[in-house]
Symmetry: C2
Subunit: 188 residues, 2 copies
C-alpha cells in the first residue's frame, strides 16, 4: 500500500505542464501556528491541506473527549473526508500540532479543474482509493489486534509518531486510554 503513494507521487511528477499549472494556479501556501485549527467541527471542509512542513492531526469529540483519527506529516493531505466529499458540516477538527506550512486548494476550484483536466480526475480517484485502503487497514487492525499489538505496530512501522506526538494523542489514536498506553509501554 505504501507503493501506492509512490505511484501517486510519480503520477504527479509526470503531469504535463498544462495540468500542473492548472493545479498550481488554484493552490496557495499558508502558515499556521502550533495549536491553530485548520478546520473546526460543524464547518464545511471546503479546502484540502497538503502539508509542506510540520505535523497536524484530525480529531473529533466524543463525550467531551478528543479522539484522534489521523496524523499528518510532511507530504500528507489533510481533509475531513466525508465533509469534503459531501460538502456537509464536519464532525472533525484539524489541528496543527506544530507550526505548519500547508498548500491549500479550494474544493470548488479543484472540482472545476477536474472537469477540464482528466488527469486531475484520475489523481483524485487515486487519492480516494488510497484513503479507502488506509481506513480499511485501520479498521482491520481494530478488528483483529489487541491494544498492545496496535501499539507495537505503530511503534515498529512509524517510530517517528511515537517520538514526536504526545502519548495522550497516540492513545486516542489507538483507541485506548492514556493509562493503558502508559502500562503497555512500561512492560516493553
Amino acid at each position: 500500500m505504501t507503493s501506492y503513494i509512490e505511484k501517486i507521487n510519480n503520477y504527479i511528477k509526470a503531469l504535463d505542464n498544462d495540468t500542473l499549472s492548472a493545479l498550481q494556479s488554484i493552490s496557495s501556501e499558508k502558515k499556521y501556528k502550533k495549536g491553530d485549527l485548520l478546520l473546526r467541527q460543524n464547518e464545511i471542509c471546503g479546502k484540502s491541506y497538503l502539508l509542506i512542513s510540520g505535523i497536524a492531526r484530525k480529531y473529533y469529540l466524543n463525550d467531551g473527549k478528543e479522539i484522534t483519527t489521523e496524523l499528518y506529516f510532511e507530504n500528507d493531505l489533510a481533509i475531513s473526508f466525508d465533509s469534503y466529499t459531501l460538502q456537509q458540516p464536519s464532525r472533525e477538527f484539524i489541528e496543527a500540532l506544530t507550526d505548519v506550512t500547508v498548500s491549500i486548494t479550494h474544493y470548488q476550484a479543484f472540482q472545476d479543474a477536474k472537469a477540464k483536466h482528466q488527469k486531475l480526475l484520475s489523481l483524485d480517484l487515486m487519492l480516494a482509493e488510497y484513503y479507502g485502503m488506509w481506513v480499511e487497514n485501520r479498521l482491520f487492525q481494530f478488528h483483529t489486534m489487541s491494544a498492545t499489538e496496535r501499539y507495537l505496530n505503530i511503534f515498529n512501522k512509524s517510530p517517528h509518531i511515537v517520538q514526536t506526538i504526545p502519548l495522550t494523542i497516540i492513545a486516542s489514536y489507538l483507541g485506548i486510554s492514556l493509562e493503558t498506553l502508559s502500562r503497555i509501554r512500561a512492560k516493553i
Copy 2:
C-alpha cells in the same frame, strides 16, 4: 451518506447512451449458488460484482475464525477493495449467502472504458468516495460505541440484516463473539 448512493444512482440513470452501452458491453450476468465463493483468499480481485438479487458477504480468516467485513444486498457492489485497486492477492473471500445473480465487470475492461469515457472515471471516483466514507463510518462506530450500541445501531438502521443473516455472521461483523451477541439480544 445515504443520499450519496442516490446521487450515484441518479448519475448512472443520467448517463448518455454511448457511455451506458460501453458499460453494458463489458458487463455480463452470472448466477451463483448459496455457499459459492465469488472470490477466494490469495486470488486477485479482477472483477467487480454488482448484486442483482440475493445476499453475499466479504470476510477474512483470523486465527482460523471468519471475520465478516461487509454484507451485500441487492444493488450493492461487491469487491475486495484493496485487492481490486492494487491488483494484488486478496486477504478476503466473497461468498454467496443465498443464491445470487450478479452483474460482473472485469477490472481491465473497466480501466480501458474509463480512459475513453470520462463519466465512468467520475463514476469510479464516486464509488471510491462512497466506500471511503462507509469504512470511515464503520471505524467511527468501532472507536466510539460499545457492542450493545453497535448492535442496536444495525438493528435500527438495517433491520433486514438482523432478520436474514445468521447471528454467527452478524457477531463477527460487529466484532464480538456469538455468545456476547446472544446475551445482548436476550436483554432487549
